[in-house]
């Protein structure tokens, strides 16, 4: 059985006479036990899709289910199976960390949950903050509590909507270790993130959406294999020759050029030499998920893994 299933999901927001189609018929499934990445630029519809999954929003048409339970008709069972870490840093200022987690447990029908709450606190480095009021916590600590809150009822499916946006390296490490452990224990994980190296490292399958449409869906390894496999990286202060500039990704002084093979690299270097471009720190590397993401978002179909 699929842990999560989206079938022809559309969502139209209508306001002040204008309507915006945020999702244009998105379909894909996530299998039980997967670590799944949902990627896309800002405004692509990732959060809308997650909100529909969580019941925070309603699809205009289409079906969505969690562990076989329809999110509208069987909402109580689907939400029992789902733990969502929201993107916004929200908290209830009236309560301490432990009170927050106890209240959240009780909403899911768990009245004696302290053993698991203690385990969550320990795994997320929150033990010494258990009795602190939510208001007294730093942003990173509040983010950890959000993660703990999403996990109080041991959901079979864990959804993390950009959980590492603006958090320090230490929390990212702690968080990913813990989530990876839960994934190994059988929990399905759905992750959206802007840090593509995280997605590449963690997710075994990836979907990419752009302007409300699915533009790629494949195993991470297949996505990585299906594109120009080499990247030429160097720094320069000179203007690039016109035919290279069209292909290059430039970040400040850093230039990245995708190349299929050694011959193409040689040709590029020749072109650069002829144009009198002085280059520093030349290196060659494998294309990473970021390169593939940018290619796809700029309209190139992935070599393999084109959505059906």
């Amino acid at each position: 059985m699929n842990a999560v299933s989206f079938q022809n999901v559309t969502k139209t927001f209508a306001s002040a006479g204008r309507s915006l189609q945020a999702l244009k018929g998105v379909s894909f499934d996530i299998e039980e036990g997967e670590f799944f990445g949902l990627l896309g630029p800002n405004g692509a519809g990732k959060t809308t899709l997650i909100n529909i999954l969580a019941g925070l929003s309603r699809a205009t048409s289409g079906q969505v289910s969690v562990c076989g339970f329809d999110v509208v008709k069987d909402y109580a069972k689907s939400r029992q199976a789902l733990g969502v870490v929201p993107q916004e840093l929200v908290f209830d200022p009236f309560f301490s960390v432990r009170e927050t987690l106890r209240i959240q447990s009780a909403y899911f029908g768990l009245r004696r949950n302290d053993a698991w709450i203690d385990e969550l606190l320990a795994n997320l480095g929150l033990t010494d903050k258990a009795d602190a009021n939510m208001r007294q916590l730093s942003g990173g600590m509040k983010r950890r509590v959000l993660v703990a809150q999403a996990l109080v009822h041991r959901p079979r499916v864990i959804v993390l909507d950009e959980p590492t946006a603006g958090v320090d390296v230490e929390l990212r490490q702690t968080l990913w270790q813990f989530i990876a452990k839960l994934n190994k224990e059988g929990h399905t994980v759905l992750l959206t993130t802007h840090y593509l190296e995280e997605a590449e490292a963690l997710c075994n399958r990836i979907a990419m959406i752009k302007q409300g449409e699915l533009v790629a869906l494949d195993r991470t390894s297949a996505l990585l294999a299906g594109t120009a496999s080499t990247m030429l990286r160097f720094k320069t202060d000179h203007a690039l020759p016109v035919d290279l500039a069209a292909k290059a990704r430039v970040t400040g002084r850093i230039v990245q050029l995708p190349a299929r093979d050694a011959l193409e690299i040689e040709t590029m270097l020749g072109t650069l030499r002829q144009a009198g471009c002085q280059i520093e720190d030349l290196e060659m590397g494998r294309a990473d998920l970021e390169d593939i993401f940018l290619n796809i978002m700029h309209g190139q179909k992935p070599g393999q893994g084109v959505p059906a």
Binding site: S57, R58, A76, R79, Q80, V90, I103, Q104, A106, Y107
Partner: protein, 254 residues
């Protein structure tokens, strides 16, 4: 999950929410009511006798108690919802399996508890100034409870509808406060000019206060059974609307 398993924790959370700041949510309204009693009671004591043999200060007490029940029941659900919506922490409840009935029971139940707590506080303190009597005490319990439920449900509707604090203030200042003051807290509607007397007859708060007062003095402007029938219809109507809005996710599930 059964209905009560879900509603209970949300109810407890909502009660804790106001209890943790009880000086502001219970103490302050009791003090306000005492000030009303001291000032209006002192000024009008020798000028007004509404019911034969009932001094104005005594007459005023049930009205003040009921007004406190109504205003605080409304304030509890409405302020909790608008705060949770604006700070975004309503998401923690939205993500749970709780049904719309559980939401309703929890928010209205906590509003009722706060309304009754403040009402009881006002009663205990003001009765020390002038014992109003408890001739037919059961009416006080019935009407205080119905009033708390009615205003708790109205607060729920206002909390769902309002998107900003100023919209909430508008609801409170243009609907709740006028309906409370035009319900006979400070006077018997018989002393009003005919037009306002007729207007008062369409105000469910009037029947709440009149029926409640009957519990203290055994006399009222309207037969308490008639008041009970009218208030019950209002409670059912407002509750049905609140339940419908919760079920459809009005302004909370987009």
């Amino acid at each position: 999950m059964s209905f009560l398993v879900g509603a209970r924790p949300l109810f407890v959370k909502e009660v804790l929410r106001f209890w943790k700041v009880s000086a502001q949510t219970v103490g302050a309204p009791v003090l306000t009511a005492i000030l009303y009693l001291l000032i209006f009671g002192h000024v009008l004591q020798d000028h007004v006798e509404v019911f034969a043999g009932v001094s104005y200060t005594r007459f005023l007490i049930p009205g003040l108690v009921m007004m406190s029940v109504l205003q605080n029941a409304f304030a509890n659900s409405s302020s909790s919802l608008i705060q949770s919506k604006i700070t975004g922490n309503l998401v923690f409840v939205l993500l749970t399996p709780l049904s719309h009935r559980a939401w309703f029971a929890a928010y209205v139940g906590a509003s009722l508890v706060r309304g009754l707590a403040v009402g009881l506080g006002v009663f205990v303190v003001t009765a020390w100034f002038a014992w109003p009597g408890l001739a037919q005490w059961w009416w006080t319990v019935i009407f205080a409870t119905l009033g708390g439920v009615l205003l708790g449900a109205l607060g729920l509707i206002a909390g769902l509808w309002a998107e900003k604090f100023d919209q909430m203030a508008m609801f409170q200042n243009f609907i709740i406060v006028p309906m409370t003051f035009l319900s006979g807290v400070f006077y018997s509607v018989h002393s009003l000019p005919p037009f306002w007397h007729t207007v008062s007859r369409f105000n469910p708060f009037f029947y709440l206060i009149d029926g409640f007062r009957c519990g203290f003095f055994g006399v009222s402007d309207v037969n308490p059974w008639e008041s009970l029938a009218i208030v019950s219809v209002a409670v059912l109507g407002v509750s049905a609307l609140a339940l419908h809005l919760l079920k459809t996710g009005y302004k909370i599930r987009h």
